[in-house]
Structure formats: C-alpha cells, structure tokens
C-alpha cells in the first residue's frame, strides 16, 4: 500500500483513448495491487486492480458500499456523495438478503426471458426511427440511451410521457462533478415527489408492474420492508438499470465496429451473440468509477494489511484485463468461454439486474445485425469521446452509418 512515487495518484485515471484502458492499470496490477489513490473529494482511498483480489473483496459479505461512517472517504466532489452517499438504503447483511430476495423474483432468468419479445419490439421501433432519420446517426442517442429507460419505465409502470424526466433525474443522481449540489438536491426532491405520487397512484389502482407488486409485499410483510425502502428501491432500480445499460449499448457497438472483422464474425455466426455480449462486458475499459467498499474490520489482501476504516475501490475493468485470470486478456475474443468477468460485480451484492442487462444487450445486437448489417463507425475510433463527470462510464456519441 506504500506510495513509491512519493505522490498519491489522482483517481479515476485518464485513458489515452475512449476505448482504451488507462496506462496505470497494468503496472499497478503487476507491482502495486493494493495502491493508494486520491479521490475527486481530496480524500485518500485504496485501489484494487487484480482479479483475485477484487473478487475476494466483493465476495466478502462483511463489507458494503455504504460509506456513511465518519472516516469513510467521500467519493464525489459534491457534498452528498451522490448514489454512494447517505441517501442509499442502509441495510445490514440480513436485511439486505431479505430485500434482495423480494426484488430478485422480478429478475429471474424466466421472468426476464418473458420480457425479451417486448424489449425486441422496443429496439426495433427505435432502430426504425433511426433509419427514418437517415445515415449517419448517433446510435448512443437514438438507441442506447432511450431503450433501457423504456424498459425500466415499463417495469415500474411509469407512463411513456415521463421517460425524459426519468433520464434527467437518473443523470443527476450519478454525478461525480457534472452537476452542482443545488441541481442534485433539486432533482432528488423532484424525483422523490414524483415517486411518492406514483406509489400512491399504484396503491389506489394497482397494475401488473413491479411497484404494484412491491406495494402488496410491503402490506403483507407488515413493516419488514418499510415504504421508504420501497421508494429507494424503485429509485435504485431506475438508476442502476438506466445509465449503466445505456452506456454499455453504445460502448458495445463501438467496440464491435472499431475492428469491423468483429462485426463480420457476428454477421457470419449469430450464435456468437451471447458470448460477444459477455466479451464486450469484460473488455469494456470504461465502466466508470468502480465499486467502493468500506473496510469495517482489518483484512489481508495480497498479504498486505488493509486497516479498518479504509475505503477500498475495486476496479472491475482492470481486474477483467488481468492476465492471471484471462488468457490474452488484452485481446477482444468473441468466442471466449467461459467468461467469468466481473462487470456485474460478484458475491452477495452482485448486480441484481444482470439478466435484464444481458437480455437488453443481446437483443440490441440481434436487431442491429438483422436490420443494419452494413453498420460501421462514421468517425475514426480516435474521435470517439468519453462522457465525463458521471460515475458510470460511457461514450458521448457513437456516430454510425450504414
């Protein structure tokens, strides 16, 4: 954990290109797998970059991402800490497990598979619109950004007309530096009001959406799950399911088109779609900040003692490029199997919506290969630019033509 350069590096790092990993990762993985870093807030933290270390820490149920202890590092430049601040649900392991089981039923493989035809119809509609507007187009704006909002709004029973407002609220809640504290507070208040009204409306007239189902569960559980937790759950699902998937759609398509041989490989063999999605998730060098863990009791990582009170950041993307775990980790291989990447985290707090995210990504790819086989990037890869200042990483635009 010692700082050999004499100066603690600022985190997150800047990559040389929008699809490339920061140069810091490989030397850290090799020589300094438990590294001191300085966050946007100025606080110090510790960064993990090896697959085994990240997996070990994420799988340890003692440690969570709740950073409201007095000595926990503040991740963001604004005061509240955004999505990792005190606004989240503060649950212990047992409560978390109960909550997770309640919500988990909405995201089983079977339920998500049943949603697939609806998702495919949404994707086809959006691609039709993009084709109508004409080539070239920004695939991130035309397809990547709207699709997951449509899916989540559908899941929550939110009307189509409110999708744009949801996108904005989702954006502000994930801000590291892009919005001011005043803007974030205002958006959170608006979102709370909206959700409260939405929950009340669903209580009066239940539908076949997740909110209505949650309401009946809260009633049945008699206090086991408070209404406040339900509100935060609804918010969490939207935030977790929107930006992440939106950005991943854009990055996946950009990575597959950056070397058009990859796209042609998929055109020739559609059965590779599932593995191509997994490899895109592994290969994504820009997933965002990483997953923080507050270390509440001393642990050993790579024979190095991490003292209680440390805030550790698990860099999933750096771990996904660890040669100790993946052969030819620096190459994108659309036939890689098995692919136990950590894009959705690992352990008891692994991403709840991963089956849904996978289905959305696979569906997007299928629809694009069917409808636009001649798809290609409309700009050189070097001109792709990252979205800055959000916790979730993405590309500002994905200009394509066909």
């Amino acid at each position: 954990m010692s700082d050999t350069s004499g100066q603690t590096p600022h985190y997150p790092f800047s990559p040389p290109g929008a699809l490339e990993p920061p140069q810091e990762w490989a030397p850290l993985r090799e020589g300094c797998p438990v590294a001191s870093i300085r966050l946007a807030s100025g606080d110090e933290s510790v960064l993990l970059t090896r697959y085994a270390d990240v997996r070990q820490l994420l799988s340890d149920p003692r440690f969570t991402h709740h950073l409201d202890s007095a000595d926990a590092a503040n991740i963001t430049a604004n005061e509240s800490g955004g999505v990792f601040g005190s606004g989240g649900t503060n649950m212990g392991a047992d409560t978390h497990r109960q909550w997770r089981q309640l919500i988990g039923k909405a995201f089983t493989a079977k339920r998500v598979s049943a949603m697939q035809p609806g998702i495919e119809a949404m994707a086809e509609h959006l691609v039709d619109e993009m084709i109508k507007q004409g080539s070239p187009a920004d695939l991130a704006g035309a397809l990547g950004f709207p699709l997951p909002v449509w899916v989540i709004c559908d899941l929550l029973g939110v009307p189509d007309s409110d999708r744009d407002r949801f996108s904005y609220w989702s954006d502000t809640m994930l801000s590291l530096t892009r919005f001011t504290q005043v803007e974030i507070d205002a958006a959170q208040a608006e979102f709370d009001d909206y959700l409260r009204a939405h929950v009340a409306a669903k209580r009066a007239t239940p539908g076949d959406d997740l909110i209505s189902e949650l309401i009946s569960l809260v009633g049945a559980l008699d206090g086991r799950m408070t209404e406040e937790i339900m509100m935060l759950t609804a918010k969490g699902l939207l935030v977790a399911g929107h930006e992440t998937t939106s950005n991943m759609i854009g990055k996946m398509v950009a990575m597959l088109l950056a070397d058009r041989g990859r796209w042609e490989q998929l055109l020739a063999d559609r059965s590779l779609i599932r593995l191509a999605v997994e490899e895109s998730l592994r290969y994504d060098a820009n997933p965002g900040f990483g997953i923080p863990r507050y270390i509440s009791e001393e642990i050993q990582v790579d024979d190095i003692t991490v003292p209680a009170g440390t805030t550790v950041v698990c860099n999933l993307a750096a771990a996904n490029r660890d040669e100790r775990q993946f052969d030819h980790a620096a190459d994108m291989d659309l036939t890689r199997s098995p692919n136990p990447h950590l894009a959705f985290g690992a352990g008891p707090y692994a991403c709840l919506g991963q089956a849904l995210a996978r289905t959305e990504l696979q569906t997007v790819l299928k629809v694009l290969l069917d409808r636009l086989p001649t798809l290609e990037l409309a700009v050189p890869v070097a001109d792709l630019a990252r979205r800055e200042g959000l916790i979730v990483g993405g590309l500002r635009q994905v200009p394509v033509r066909w």
């Binding site: 799988s59 995201f107 089983t108 493989a109 098995p338 136990p340 690992a346 692994a350 089956a355």
Partner: protein
C-alpha cells in the same frame, strides 16, 4: 458428474438457469437457485461447467467424476 449448490451464497443472477435450464432453476419467490438434477447426463457437462465458472457468487460446485 455430481453437482452441489449453496443457496446461502446464491445471489439470484440466473446465469445457471439460462445456461442449463434442465439442471438449474430459480425459486419463483426469491430467484434463489434450485438444483433440479444433481447428477445430470454427460451431455450437460459443458453447460454445467460454464454455469459454475461464471456464477458470480461461486455458489455451484461440480465434481466431474462419474
């Protein structure tokens, strides 16, 4: 081939149920893994191994001995 699952570790990701639906299912009420067949036929070997390899909770163990 003999399979064991740890329901306390399971996080309900559902990868196993997608990869080998003849062997794994998820509980309707909680999404937690249900082992349908602890000693499946050899033809499921590849799918079962992949399910165990990619399980984010490391909740599946496979003993490949017959």
């Amino acid at each position: 081939m003999n399979i064991a699952v740890d329901q306390d570790k399971c996080c309900g990701a559902g990868q196993c149920a997608l990869l080998a639906p003849e062997v794994f299912d998820q509980g309707e009420d909680d999404g937690i893994v249900i082992l349908l067949n602890p000693s499946p036929a050899e033809r499921f070997r590849a799918a079962v191994r992949e399910a165990a390899d990619v399980c984010p909770a490391s909740a599946i163990t496979v003993d490949l001995r017959p």
